[in-house]
Symmetry: C2
Subunit: 149 residues, 2 copies
DNA sequence: CTCCGTGCAAAGGCTTTGCACACTC
DNA sequence: GAGTGTGCAAAGCCTTTGCACGGAG
């Protein structure tokens, strides 16, 4: 694998799209960020990575949308704001999203395998694990909220 | 259980809030609708239930938010639009949300029990099943989309 | 050279909020 | 009677879109 042409770029070119400087930078930023990121966070990350990077926020919106369409990113909708996450390499991984502190610990795909299979058999429904976020409360927040407000 | 004072009303009163005609009607509409409903759909349902019901859309927003806070409803964020679902009675049930046609077939809670337990044991994470929506493709849409665009 | 992608800025849709009045308790 | 909830309407926020220019192929 060539360092200057990661798989993601190949994928983009293969789809008939063009590799622009903006897309390269957004891809880098997306890969760099752990967990979910809002469009604006990615935009900020791009600026942080390269202060001389002139980019419009709308470009980030469009690019993220494109990447999601191509499966290189996955999107989530959390309370009116859409977040994205890199999904180009390795297996899809899933997050537990804590309603309290917002942390997103990962869980192994194996934990979900049974569920997916069951659903597929019983309903003929093909689960898209990439879009799966499981909400709840992490260990830390559980302790704190023994006494809910 | 009194017909005129369902548990949901008791809950509302118990929290120190007032039972207004608007809340009653929104509750009814919410209970009546299957699956997820947008704020506007619930608003429309209220109007349908009682044509003489004067109500502002903002009231529906506020009420739905309140009900969610109290656990009588659960909310989902699907692509910029928030949807709600009644969650006051019976066990929490979960939906498969088809990315294709938008249908939301239910799945039995038992299918998730193992997953929940596993996550709890491995991560100390308390899964909130009420907020769980599993996305993917239903049987019908799978057939149609054998050839993705 | 051709055409896609970008920047800029305005429009758009959903949701929230301030204020005065009505209604619940 | 006291205070919450509502209606109305405007403001707010995130996101999308139109247009002309610039860069990729």
């Amino acid at each position: 694998m060539t360092q200057d042409s990661p798989a993601s770029e190949q994928t983009i070119r293969a789809s008939g799209r063009r590799m622009t400087m903006q897309r390269v930078k957004i891809l880098e930023a997306l890969k760099r960020r752990p967990g979910h990121s809002t469009t604006e966070q990615i935009y900020a990350q791009v600026c942080a990575d390269d202060a001389s990077a002139e980019m419009a926020l709308s470009t980030v919106y469009r690019t993220l949308d494109t990447l999601t369409e191509m499966g290189l990113a996955v999107s989530f909708s959390d309370g009116g704001v859409t977040t994205y996450e890199w999904a180009g390499d390795d297996e899809p991984h899933h997050h537990l999203v804590c309603n309290g502190c917002g942390t997103t610990p990962e869980i192994a795909i194996s934990a979900l395998a049974d569920l997916v299979e069951t659903i597929e058999q019983q309903h003929g429904f093909a689960v898209d694990l990439r879009h799966m976020a499981i909400r709840g409360q992490c260990a830390g927040c559980r302790e704190k909220s023994e006494a809910p407000r």
